[in-house]
Amino acid sequence: MLTIFRDLFRYNREFRIGALLTGFIVFFAALSLVSPYPPQDVYIVPPDLPPSPTYWFGTTSRGQDVFWQLTFAIRNTMLFGFAVALLSRLLSIAIGMWSGYKGGIVDRVLMSINDTFIVIPLFPLLVLFYFVMRDKMSWPLLALAMACLGWAYDARLIRSVAMSLKNREFTQQSVFSGMRTSEIVLQEHLPYVLPIVFYTTMNNMNWSIGLEVTLSVLGFTNIDTPTIGVMIYWANQHTAMVAGIWWWIFFPVLFVIILFIGLFLLAISMNEYIDPRSRLARMGGMRG
């Protein structure tokens, strides 16, 4: 496993850049552990100072150091994205593959649930969720809610692949050789589906972080826990752009973009290891 990572790092440019960018963000988030200030405290440093050797990323109008505030924000946002992606992937893989392989009545029941989730408008539902939860709102709860809403498209995508795999010769051979359904799905079909899962994971993190930022900017989340969205919310509250405190918005946005790019590059280069076909395509053997 380690040698795979070493080789990917050595020979794959996308992986190298992706690993460096993501590593940088993870390191930055880890700095939150040694932050001199608790994340919720305000007016502990002079407000509205531009970036300087003392305050690298400047300070906010609420008297917080942007640098240390951002370490907490990026950590929470990243954890949020991972949590949503992980939970919703579990749901979409399980439901998509089971439904596609089983077919018949199982497929019909699962897909009608699936389609219901596809047509439900998510944003009003999440806003409603906030108004129901109010003070009990926290990011793990929001992550759970979004994971329950974010699996449906990808489950349908995975189902379509599973349906096609079901009719391939190697599946018939697996059935004939006496493999159990779970073994067929996990050993024979899952490796085929994983590259798609990787791509949808990226999409899903993108979507969940984006939606979290949207909700936070509008104040529909717990605004005491710093996330990228919450930082922008407070900056807007203090009309940072109008007041010329650009660093309050610029750094959160920059870091979230770095995170996106890093994760995206990691995902496509991982795919190269997982999917032997894309390796061949890279060699130029299969133009098409």
């Binding site: 391939r168 010769e169 190697f170 018939q172 051979q173 697996s174 059935v175 004939f176 050789s177 006496g178 493999m179 073994e183 050993q187 024979e188 490796p191 085929y192 999917d275 032997p276 076909r277 061949l280």
Partner: protein, 349 residues
């Protein structure tokens, strides 16, 4: 477990006797949509048997029911295909077993160990995202009952038998050529030394040179492990080279069956005659003549002999009644009212 394998190897020793007996097998595709019932009689009343250590060839044009027949033989059927009647009895290790009377676990014990199946389009039997070795482990490991290192050694030795390097185990299927992939699937099907191998069009996608190679290899492996085989292909030339006995299918029924030499040299059923005269021969410059018409729709087969609409010899009774299989010579059976009339008192006068 190891003792069981040894005993099965010992039991495989008797070189004669029947391994497979099929009696009046009928398998229909039955569908029902919007209240309309349809029944496609893909296999209708097939009776045949296969002896130990013998290659039984099955030939016929496309859609005559060859693949359906063997799917039914190995009980690899899924709705809408249903077995309507008849029986399939295998004799493994001295015991008779009706494959449709077995429970699921017994069935799984028989498969691969005793009965293996090379699927149609077998080049695609290997999972494109799994290495060849993983495919071997997935499909055959459970049936061997040996620890992993011994199993891997066994695979390597077996691959050597089909003239493949052990390095193919590390390859993905797309990295192998068609012929290599075909040999891998043959190795996969024969690695457990099964008593019975069913091969559905094992060489269709290959060119004739590789085809000959693969077929002789299949034959060698079959002889070496003393198994019986059903070989399905529409290529009569292949049958002439490989099969001991040959069954000709037409529209879901057996038309003629006999030793390959007899069937090809001396075909008695008009359909077989046409099939055989269609083969090109070196030095033959006569114009080949096609047979008019197409195989019948099996959802609504013609009454009587299913070949009669295309048969140049058809007489009155062909349109009304299906001809029974009649022994013309020992082991040579034909179903035709004209060329093989059943000997009934009064019928010949």
């Amino acid at each position: 477990m190891i003792a069981a394998i040894q005993s099965s190897a010992v039991n495989a020793a008797p070189a004669t006797g029947r391994v497979l007996t099929v009696d009046n097998l009928r398998a229909y595709y039955q569908t029902r949509y919007f209240g309309i019932e349809r029944e496609v009689r893909a296999v209708d009343g097939v009776t045949l048997h296969v002896d130990r250590n013998e290659v039984y060839g099955l030939a016929g044009e496309s859609s005559c029911g060859k693949t359906t027949l063997i799917k039914t033989l190995v009980r690899a059927i899924r709705p809408p295909l249903n077995v309507v009647g008849g029986s399939v009895t295998f004799n493994f290790a001295g015991r008779d077993c009706d494959i449709y009377a077995l429970n699921q676990s017994d069935l799984e014990n028989i498969r691969w160990r005793h009965l293996s199946y090379i699927l149609q389009g077998s080049m695609n039997v290997l999972n494109p995202v799994r290495r060849v070795q993983q495919s071997f482990v997935d499909f055959a490991y459970r049936h061997i009952g040996q620890p992993m290192p011994a199993f891997l050694k066994l695979i390597e030795a077996h691959l050597h038998r089909v003239r493949l390097e052990p390095t193919v185990l590390d390859a993905y299927p797309h990295e192998l050529s068609g012929g290599m992939r075909q040999r891998v699937t043959i190795a996969l099907a024969s690695v457990c030394r099964p008593d019975f191998i069913i091969a559905d069009e094992p060489t269709t996608a290959l060119d004739v040179v590789v085809q000959k190679d693969v077929l002789s290899m299949l034959r060698d492996v079959q002889r070496e492990i003393c198994s019986s085989m059903i070989l399905v292909t529409h290529d009569i030339g292949v049958h002439a080279n490989v099969s001991d006995r040959l069954g000709i299918m037409y529209a879901g029924r057996l038309a003629e069956e006999g030793r390959t030499v007899d069937v090809i040299r001396n075909p008695r059923h008009p359909y077989t005659s046409h099939l055989v005269t269609s083969l090109p021969r070196i030095g033959d410059v006569t114009q080949k003549r096609g047979l008019e018409g197409a195989p019948p729709n099996l959802a609504n087969p013609p009454p009587g002999c299913r070949f009669h609409p295309r048969c140049p010899l058809a007489i009155e009774i062909c349109r009304a009644e299906h001809p029974p299989m009649v022994d013309l010579a020992p082991g040579h059976r034909v179903a035709c009212w004209v060329t093989a009339p059943p000997i009934k008192p009064g019928a010949l006068q």
